[in-house]
Symmetry: C2
């Protein structure tokens, strides 16, 4: 097994800067050691800043982004509670499935894969259904679409519903502003625009959301994800709940320092520039973007495959790209499988030289144009 | 923040060997990259060996040991299902709480904290209650007691119940032999006798257990922990379910290689020797073991505190041990809080020089005997 610096341009994980890798290799401290708790404090504070929130219960959940989705919904929903989910790709679908398993009454508004949700349609459904929770995805990793949040969250707030937002692919790449938007609960992952290995899920619960969890008739089914129990460790007392993943937290803490040093404004601009350059360079060799420019994510670009890539078998081309050029890109999911690629320029990878390396590799794999 | 090589002699995490730390600092591969899948294959095979099982669904769950407990119970139990839990400490109690949240009908057999469960009492309760699941802890981290498994698991098997075993503190320190014992489901953690950072939970589900999950009337509430979904990625097809925590798996893979190189027999002997030596050395300075020798865990020793440590305030002594000698030991939990310490000699730490370092530090903190 070699340590090849594979260029990770799929939908995540993205490449991890050496500083973060080194932090993970640091000798451990105990999870109740005051020095470790300082690192946890700093990490939670950096996450609050990045989520745009003052929520005390902002913390790195000890599991991946999918568990963050589950924690968000399982804390708020009791069996029979109505939820409205905006579905425009795999991760909206997954929210429906998770909510169904909780026993919630699931309603949905769909958008075409590759388009954003229609805010007016969402507002109408909210007014009609009066759901307890409105949930949708900020940056759909399966389609490459950016969803505007403010109008939908406002409609939910006016109707007394709590808003849950998936920020797995947005956090650290596209500005997130929970408090200004009026979002109650959000979850993310570390392996996308934070450029930290997968394994943790940054989550944020508003005081209102935590109060609602504390007032539940029956406790959250998941002891592990119950935010009212997590509050014992992440809320200041630092009492034992479960053993925090020390090394992963060291990595995340370092990754967040890097984000903080760069500043979110500069970081978002860097992602926008890189995404624009990718579309331009790939356009030159026949890959056209799936998503309209107005709602296109810069950190995750979905491109329609040229005829000849489909003829060659797109999975085979991706395999050769990995085997011969050590570059990973992602295939399509669901109705887009076989028709698109998903190309991530996330976090540390949102730089033009990565685009150049990919474009050169593709040009050599697909010669004679 | 310095990189102090704190000596971690609490109930976990334990110290992590440099090889494992270096493995975690390796550049990432994608979670569907064939090279990463080879690492996953090897890891699952090593876990099977260590669990003493041929179970295909043996895998590192992407969350800590507490989530392993939850996965084990949440997959097997539906609301109303009867479960019998053997309770002899914090982790047996936690099993009851997790099962209650699932809506199971929870029965329990209690043992005094510091003693093992009475196998005859467990058998009688199994015969009387005919539970669907019998659950107990192999190595109780809150008391330092080793539980003999075979007789209870046999009684459960004869009554048609499935046995769930907590091996968080045993795996890698004390031999585990699931198939021979007739245990259906087991879970563990990485931060104890495997000497790998916390963050993953090795679990194993028998084919019979997986078949039962597939036949459930209602799906497992947790999408993240549903073993019938996890089978899509960990069962051979390697289809996307959630993003595996790449770097943590690199670390676990390396940690398991170390266990494999040493061999479980030699490793268990090393733990026994170290535990024996600890009791001897600490006895010299007034710390007597809580647990009878016949059921005493070598990797986690609970010691009754000498009068003068209690007078000084035991938490203050532990704080000084950490601040002045960079050694962590654990306090007592529940009814044992303030009365005992929990001293771990787990995995790489099960060596006499660690004992000597602790004994010397304690002698200097508690002079004049």
């Amino acid at each position: 097994m070699t340590s090849s610096p594979t260029l990770l341009l799929g939908p995540g994980p993205s490449n991890v800067p050496p500083r973060v890798l080194e932090a993970m290799a640091r000798p451990l401290w105990g999870h109740l050691d005051p020095r470790f708790l300082d690192v946890m404090d700093e990490t939670q504070e950096h996450l609050r800043h990045l989520f745009g929130t003052a929520n005390e219960m902002t913390l790195p959940l000890s599991a991946t982004g999918s568990a963050g989705m589950e924690a968000s919904l399982a804390n708020l929903l009791e069996p029979g509670d109505p939820i409205l989910v905006g579905v425009a790709g795999v991760f909206g679908e997954r929210m429906c499935e998770v909510a169904r398993r909780i026993g919630a009454e699931v309603h949905r508004v769909d958008a075409e894969w590759g388009a954003a949700l229609d805010a007016t349609e969402m507002r109408d459904a909210i007014d009609r259904l009066e759901p307890k929770v409105v949930a949708f995805v900020h940056a759909e990793t399966s389609t490459g679409v950016l969803q505007l949040v403010e109008e939908i969250a406002a409609a939910a707030g006016e109707a007394g519903a709590l808003t849950v937002l998936d920020t797995v692919t947005s956090l650290g790449g596209t500005p997130v502003d929970l408090d200004r938007w009026g979002v109650d609960v959000a979850y993310s992952g570390t392996q996308k625009c934070l450029s930290v290995p997968p394994g943790l899920s940054p989550v944020s619960f508003s005081d209102r959301a935590v109060a609602l969890v504390r007032k539940r008739e029956r406790p959250v089914q998941s002891w592990y994800l119950d935010v009212s129990l997590l509050a014992g460790y992440y809320g200041g007392n630092r009492a034992y709940h479960h053993t925090a993943p020390i090394s992963a937290i060291f990595g995340l803490a370092e990754g967040l320092r890097i984000v903080h040093e760069e500043g979110m404004e500069a970081r978002a601009a860097r992602h926008r520039e890189a995404g624009r350059y990718l579309v331009e360079r790939l356009g030159d060799i026949g890959f056209e973007p799936l998503v309209d420019e107005t709602v296109r994510l810069p950190q995750l670009t979905t491109v329609l495959l040229p005829e000849r890539v489909m003829e060659d078998g797109e999975a085979g081309v991706r395999r050769r790209l990995l085997a011969e050029h050590d570059i990973e890109v992602g295939g399509g999911l669901g109705p887009l499988a076989g028709r698109i690629w998903r190309i991530g320029l996330m976090g540390d990878n949102a730089r033009p030289d990565r685009v150049d390396r990919l474009a050169a590799a593709l040009a050599s794999l697909l010669p004679g144009r």
